[in-house]
C-alpha cells in the first residue's frame, strides 16, 4: 500500500475510533440501568415466573416443588374472589381511562386560556399528583375498622346527594337505560377523575403551548370557525400526546396500590406467605396489562399525526 492510500485510509479509521469511543462511553453512562435492569427486573421476573409454577415452602430457605399450572387453575376455577376482582378492575378501567382523557383534555384547553388566577388554578389541579399518591388516597376507604363503622352510619343516613336524586328522576322515566347509568356513574366519580388527571393535564398543556398561534391566525383569516380549527388544528397537533396519556393513564391505573386486587396480592404474600400464588396472580395481571397496552397503542398509533 502506498503512503498516499494510507493517509486516505486513516481518516475513516479515526472516525471509527470516535464512534467506538462514543459507544463505550454510552454504555458506561447507561451501565447503572443495565445492571439494575438485569438484577432487579429480569432476574426477579424470571424467578417469579418460575415460582408461579411451583409450590413454595418457607422453611430454612425456600424449597420449590414443581406443580405445573396448579396455581393458575386454582385462581381461575376455584378462587372465589380473583376473577371477580380482575373483571371489576378491567371494567373500571374501561370507564376510567376514557373519562380521564376527555376530562384532562378539556381542562388543558381551559387552562391554556388567559384568565385571572391562572397560576393558582394550575397549582390546585396539580396538587393531587403530590398529595393523592401512594397510601393517602385509599386510606379512608380501605381501613378495615373504619369501614365497618361507616356501614353502620350509612344505614341510618337519610341525606341524599343531588346526583342520587337526579338519577332517580332520570331512571324512573321511560329513558332509563344502561347508558344513562354509566354517565351518572362518571359524574358521580368526578372527584376521583379530577384527582387522577393531574399529570395528563400538564402533558396536554405542554402540547397545546407548542402549537404556534400563527396557525390559528391563518385559519381564522381563511374563515375557519373556532369549532373547525379545534378539530383541524388542535386535535391533530396533540394526537401524539393522546397516545402518551393513554399509556400513562392505563399504567397509572393498574399500578396504584389502593385497588382491591393489589390488596389481595399483597395479603397473599405478607399474610399467607404463599409466594407461588402471589407470583401467579401478578403474572396474570401483568400479561393482561401488556396485552391492553399493546392493543391500545397499536390502534391509536395508526391514527396519530406527527408534525415534525
Amino acid at each position: 500500500m502506498s503512503a498516499a492510500a494510507k493517509s486516505v485510509d486513516s481518516k475513516p479509521k479515526k472516525r471509527k475510533d470516535l464512534a467506538r469511543g462514543n459507544a463505550i462511553a454510552g454504555y458506561l453512562f447507561i451501565s447503572p440501568f443495565i445492571i439494575g435492569f438485569l438484577v432487579f427486573l429480569v432476574y426477579p421476573l424470571a424467578q417469579s415466573l418460575y415460582m408461579s409454577f411451583c409450590q413454595t415452602d418457607l422453611g430454612d430457605g425456600i424449597t420449590y416443588t414443581w406443580k405445573g399450572l396448579e396455581h393458575y387453575r386454582y385462581l381461575f376455577l376455584s378462587d372465589p374472589d380473583y376473577t371477580k376482582l380482575l373483571l371489576q378492575e378491567l371494567q373500571k378501567m374501561a370507564i376510567y381511562v376514557p373519562s380521564i382523557l376527555v376530562f384532562s383534555f378539556f381542562m388543558a384547553i381551559l387552562l391554556n386560556q388567559e384568565f385571572k388566577g391562572r397560576t393558582f388554578v394550575r397549582a390546585v389541579y396539580f396538587l393531587p399528583v403530590i398529595l393523592a399518591s401512594g397510601v393517602m388516597i385509599g386510606l379512608e376507604t380501605n381501613n378495615s375498622l373504619l369501614a365497618g363503622m361507616q356501614d353502620v352510619i350509612a344505614k341510618d343516613n337519610t341525606a341524599t346527594s343531588i346526583t342520587q336524586t337526579l338519577k332517580d328522576i332520570l331512571l324512573t322515566g321511560e329513558n332509563g337505560n344502561k347508558f344513562f347509568e354509566t354517565i351518572i356513574d362518571i359524574v358521580d366519580q368526578v372527584y376521583d377523575i379530577a384527582i387522577a388527571s393531574g399529570i395528563q393535564i400538564i402533558i396536554f398543556l405542554s402540547g397545546l403551548q407548542t402549537i404556534s398561534p400563527s396557525m390559528y391566525e391563518a385559519a381564522t383569516i381563511e374563515g375557519c370557525t373556532a369549532w373547525e380549527s379545534f378539530w383541524k388544528i388542535t386535535f391533530p397537533m396533540i394526537s401524539s400526546l393522546i397516545l402518551v396519556n393513554v399509556v400513562y393513564s392505563v399504567v397509572d391505573f393498574f399500578t396504584r396500590s389502593d385497588s382491591a386486587l393489589m390488596e389481595k396480592v399483597s395479603d397473599t404474600m405478607m399474610v399467607d406467605f404463599n409466594f407461588g400464588r402471589t407470583a401467579a396472580m401478578s403474572w396474570i395481571y401483568f400479561v393482561i396489562i401488556i396485552a391492553i397496552l399493546g392493543i391500545v397503542s397499536l390502534v391509536i398509533s395508526k391514527r396519530v399525526y406527527y408534525y415534525d
Binding site: 432487579f40 417469579s48 381542562m107 381551559l110 396538587l127 397510601v135 375498622l145 373504619l146 407470583a279 395481571y285
Partner: protein
C-alpha cells in the same frame, strides 16, 4: 429547550378616560352601526367567561374541599364531632387530636425515618437516572433502541409483580456467592435502608423509568454545539457532562428530585416489604395505615377492654394524622410549585 415565550405586549400609554356617558353613547353608536353584532358578542363573551369561571373554580373547590374539611375537623374537640350544629368552624377549639395522632404515629422517629428514606432515595435516583438519561440522549451505541425499550418496560411493569422475588432476594442477599465466600453466610438486607439505596442506584426504584425518560427528553433538547465546543477544547466526556451540561439541567434535576422525594414519602408498598415489623423501622405512611387499630388498642389499655372508640373520633384522628403527614409535602409544593409544573411542561414530551 424550545419554549414558546409569551410575547410581551407593548403597553400603549393609557388613553385618557372619557366620561362614562360619552363611552356609553359611543358603544351604542358602534352597536347600531354593526347591527347589534357588538352587543351580542359582548353578552356571549361575558356568559362564556362566567361559565368558565364557575366551572374552573368549582372544580378547584372540589379538589381542595377534602383538605379544608380535614383542617377544620382536626381542631375540633370530641363533643363538637357529635354536635350537628357544628359544621366547619369548631366551637371548642382544641389541638388534642394532634397530640393523639402524634403519639400514634410515634412522632419524631417516624418522621425522621421517612425523611431519611425519602432524601436517600431521591438523591440516589437523581444521580443514577441523570447518568442514564444523558447516556441515552447523547451517545450512539449498538442496541440503543433495545435498551430504551427496556426503560419503557420498567415503567410498565407493576412493582407488585416483583414483590415476592425481591423479598426473597433481599432476605438472602448475595452477588454471585461472593459475600458468602467472604463472610461465610449471605446477608439479610431486609429491615435496613440498603434495599432502597441499591435499587435506586440501579435505576429500578419507584418510577425510575419515568425520570430517565424526562431527563433524556431534557438533554436531547440541549444544543449539541455546547458539547462539541468542549470536546474540541480537549475536555473529556465525563467532565463535559459534569461541568457543562449539569449546571444547565438544574431545574429538571430539582423537579426530578422533588418528585422522587414526594412519591417516596407517600409510598407504602416498598416499606411494607422491606421493613419487617421486628426491625424497628417504620415510616409515617406505615403508621397511618394502622393508626385506627393502634388508637383502639391505646384506649383499651387506658379504659379497659370494653372500651370502643367511636367512628367519629377514629376518623378525626386519622384525618389529623394524614394532615400531619401531608404538611411537609404541602410546604415543599408551595415553595417549589413552579418546579413541579413548569419543568414537566417545558421538557416537550413527545409520543
Amino acid at each position: 429547550m424550545i419554549k414558546v415565550k409569551k410575547q410581551k405586549e407593548t403597553k400603549a400609554p393609557k388613553p385618557v378616560k372619557q366620561p362614562l356617558k360619552k363611552r356609553w353613547a359611543d358603544f351604542w353608536e358602534r352597536n347600531r352601526k354593526s347591527e347589534n353584532y357588538l352587543l351580542k358578542k359582548k353578552i356571549a363573551g361575558f356568559f362564556y367567561r362566567l361559565c368558565r369561571g364557575i366551572l374552573i373554580f368549582g372544580l378547584c373547590f372540589l379538589i381542595l374541599q377534602p383538605l379544608l374539611t380535614k383542617i377544620s375537623l382536626s381542631f375540633m374537640e370530641e363533643q363538637d364531632l357529635y354536635d350537628s350544629t357544628v359544621i366547619s368552624i369548631p366551637r371548642h377549639f382544641s389541638v388534642s387530636s394532634y397530640q393523639l395522632a402524634w403519639k400514634m404515629l410515634k412522632g419524631l422517629k417516624a418522621f425522621g425515618i421517612s425523611l431519611l428514606i425519602s432524601l436517600l432515595v431521591a438523591i440516589a435516583q437523581v444521580i443514577s437516572c441523570t447518568l442514564v438519561g444523558y447516556g441515552f440522549a447523547r451517545f450512539k451505541f449498538p442496541l440503543k433502541n433495545f435498551w430504551f425499550a427496556c426503560v419503557i418496560l420498567v415503567i410498565i411493569v407493576p412493582p407488585q409483580t416483583l414483590f415476592a422475588p425481591l423479598y426473597i432476594w433481599f432476605s438472602k442477599f448475595d452477588i454471585f456467592g461472593i459475600i458468602k465466600l467472604i463472610k461465610g453466610e449471605s446477608l439479610t438486607l431486609l429491615g435496613s435502608l440498603w434495599p432502597y439505596v441499591i435499587m435506586c442506584l440501579g435505576c429500578a426504584g419507584y418510577k425510575s423509568g419515568l425520570y430517565i425518560y424526562l431527563l433524556r427528553q431534557h438533554f436531547r433538547n440541549e444544543p449539541k454545539e455546547l458539547e462539541e465546543a468542549a470536546y474540541v477544547d480537549g475536555c473529556s466526556r465525563m467532565r463535559t457532562f459534569v461541568q457543562i451540561l449539569l449546571p444547565g439541567a438544574t431545574p429538571i434535576l430539582t423537579s426530578c428530585f422533588l418528585f422522587s422525594f414526594v412519591w417516596q414519602w407517600t409510598d407504602v408498598t416498598y416499606s411494607r416489604i422491606f421493613f419487617t415489623i421486628s426491625s424497628g423501622w417504620y415510616t409515617v405512611t406505615n403508621g397511618l395505615k394502622g393508626l385506627v387499630e393502634n388508637l383502639d388498642a391505646y384506649f383499651k389499655t387506658i379504659y379497659g377492654q370494653s372500651f370502643k372508640i367511636t367512628s367519629a373520633l377514629g376518623n378525626q384522628v386519622l384525618s389529623t394524622g394524614m394532615l400531619m403527614a401531608i404538611i411537609p409535602l404541602l410546604c415543599i409544593y408551595v415553595f417549589a410549585q413552579k418546579n413541579f409544573v413548569e419543568s414537566l411542561s417545558s421538557t416537550g414530551i413527545k409520543g
